[in-house]
């Protein structure tokens, strides 16, 4: 892993400037501040790439809940990253419908192309992290993958090298 150890990076608050404004704009849309928790965590992840414990505490303070509560929520939802990830997180659907149509082979091709040695691992160049996703909801377009926010349908092993080229 070529990440700087987490503890050595001083935590800079996420919610200043535009990120804070974005969150505050959500408050009037819900009767409780707590309802803004999932959106707030999305803002953290979009800004930092993952959700650090200090960020959970920051969100907790903003939404009048406790850090423990936020952690319980973060760990429930698989799309929130609790650790630093590669620059591009690739989610590959391998649930039954896609598995029937060769998702296993596609996954292997993606691991090979990215240099990620196993699921959940980040490639040595820090470019990619590959994770298995449970049903991406595009079963008719097997195999779908998500690269960051890019949803790509009908990925076959042959298409993998070309598809990943544009992700630096």
């Amino acid at each position: 892993m070529n990440h700087v150890p987490v503890a050595e990076v001083p935590f800079e608050p996420v919610f200043t400037g535009p990120a804070l404004a974005k969150l505050e704009a959500l408050f009037p849309l819900y009767p409780t501040k707590q309802a803004c928790l999932l959106p707030a965590l999305w803002i953290v992840q979009e800004t930092r790439g993952w959700i650090a414990p200090a960020a959970m505490a920051e969100v907790a303070a903003l939404l009048d809940v406790t850090p423990a509560y936020v952690r319980g929520v973060v760990t429930f939802y698989t799309m929130y990253h609790q650790h630093p990830m590669g620059r591009h997180v690739i989610q590959v659907c391998t649930t039954s419908p896609c598995h029937l149509c060769g998702a296993g082979e596609t996954l292997k091709a993606i691991l090979k192309e990215t240099g990620c040695r196993e699921l959940g691992a980040t490639s040595p160049d820090g470019r990619f992290t590959v994770v298995e996703a449970e049903c991406l909801g595009a079963c008719g377009f097997a195999t779908p993958i998500l690269v960051g926010n890019d949803f790509i349908e009908s990925v076959t092993p042959e298409r993998v090298p070309g598809l990943l080229q544009r992700y630096e």
């Binding site: 849309l29 319980g72 929520v73 419908p97 029937l100 049903c135 595009a138």
Partner: protein, 435 residues
């Protein structure tokens, strides 16, 4: 139009008419195609009139449970002064199902219009659309559409220039299948873990933020404008004799067919026609082995059962399964049924919210036993154990995730016992290692 294939002559395009038709994504484009007329008309009607029309149409929930939509709306209290909420369930996560995604991608205003009509009908001024986190493309399309709908005065304090306020907020999920369960979704929307709630109280009594709430699936809501425009009688007539299942249903077909995709069928269409005619049949040289007709949570049908199955709520039950969300997983003779059942069990074990004991422990244990069988280390007793665990996991928990895990296991062992036996007797080589 149709997407990704042209509309087949045996389809009845209503919701899918504009799939693939990108210009339909704007307010103007939608209006050119007849959109927002129904909303305009609805806002001039009495809410009860709308509810009665929807009741008369026979529309039933398209998310999986098939509950009559008009009846559900009529459960909302009237004159209670409390804020009411409409929640649109766009957390489509049931393996095999991908119809709501297409509705949002191609016809976002169909959903916005349906939501607006439903909101007005149930006395809600606020509607939340909960979209699963993985649906990045539907999200950005819906986001643009909602923004435009506000800009064009479709939504807001004076929706369509009326005196009624209709506000709409998109809410993004973050990766949890269980949030497709209506009470789990409400918890998630409130900023909580997506744990299903005990019922009662039902959402119409105390739902989102403790207020009276109606929660409907995307496809259900998108059908509402058509019912108002073309009449309840027209919609009720879209069936093959069974008056309990009316209208059109988007069937998502995936797996081993030549042309996977969404097919919009009049209720009562034969499954064989869908698979062998519309979807172009099986891949060359392959024969049909099994179909999971309603998303992964329902019992598996074998080829013979699929052959005679009629696609409406009652027809699929008669064949031994359920129409569910209409996500059809088609499997040909190359399929390793034991592995696919294991893969489904693994899905449910991954997605269990951890509340109920039977589900938390049972889904994981079931997966382990199936993995052991696939590793060539299973015994005949393992099958009895699987069936007993499935019995212990069925009908005993807060929601039906645990039942959903049990359904393919039970039907799989019952209908494809020989494939299990092949692993147990080492006739087939192990495909998993370990355990």
């Amino acid at each position: 139009m149709g997407y990704p294939h042209p509309i087949h002559s045996s389809e009845t395009p209503v919701l899918s008419t504009h799939f693939g038709d990108a210009p339909a994504r704007t307010v103007a484009g939608w209006q050119e195609r007849g959109g927002y007329a129904a909303l305009k008309a609805a806002l001039a009607m009495a809410p009860t009139e709308i509810i009665d029309t929807v009741k008369a149409s026979g529309l039933r929930g398209r998310g999986g449970a098939g509950f009559p939509t008009g009846l559900k709306w009529s459960f909302m209290p009237t004159g209670d002064g409390k804020p009411h909420y409409l929640v649109c369930n766009a957390d489509e996560s049931e393996p095999g199902t991908f119809k709501d995604r297409e509705i949002m991608r191609w016809t976002p205003h169909a959903l916005i219009e349906g939501c607006a009509i439903a909101s007005y009908a149930i006395g809600a001024e606020q509607c939340y659309i909960y979209i699963r986190g993985e649906f990045t493309e539907p999200w950005s399309i819906m986001e643009a559409a909602v923004a435009e709908a506000y800009a064009e005065g479709v939504l807001g304090d004076h929706a369509m220039g009326s005196k009624h306020r209709i506000d709409m907020v998109l809410h993004r999920g973050a990766g949890a299948y269980i949030c497709g369960e209506e009470t789990a979704l409400m918890n998630s929307l409130e900023g909580k873990r997506g744990n299903p709630r005990i019922k009662p109280p039902f959402p119409a009594q105390a739902g989102l933020f403790g207020r009276p709430t109606t929660i409907n699936n995307v496809e259900t809501l998108a059908a509402v404008p058509h019912i108002l425009t073309r009449g309840a009688e027209w919609y009720a007539g879209l069936c093959a004799g069974n008056k309990k299942s009316t209208g059109t249903k988007l069937i998502s077909v995936c797996g081993h067919v030549m042309k996977p995709g969404n097919y919009e069928l009049t209720m009562g269409t034969a499954m064989s026609e869908l698979i062998f005619d519309m979807c172009g049949g099986m891949r060359p040289g392959r024969t049909l082995k099994a179909v999971i007709p309603g998303g992964s949570s329902v019992p598996i049908l074998n080829a013979a059962e699929a052959d005679t199955c009629i696609l409406d709520y009652e027809g699929v039950v008669e064949a031994g399964s359920m129409l569910g969300s209409g996500g059809m997983i088609v499997m040909d003779d190359s399929t390793d049924m034991v592995y696919e059942i294991y893969r489904l069990a693994k899905f449910y074990a991954h997605e269990s919210c951890a509340q109920c004991t039977q589900c938390r422990e049972g889904t994981a244990w079931t997966t382990k036993i199936l993995a052991r069988i696939l590793a060539g280390k299973g015994t005949v007793e393992d099958l009895d154990l699987l069936l007993d665990l499935a019995d212990n996991m069925t009908g005993k928990t807060i929601c039906v995730l645990s039942d959903s895990c049990a359904a393919p296991v039970v039907s799989g062992i019952k209908k494809f016992r020989n494939e299990f036996d092949d692993y147990l007797t080492a006739k087939k080589a192990p495909v998993l290692v370990g355990i």
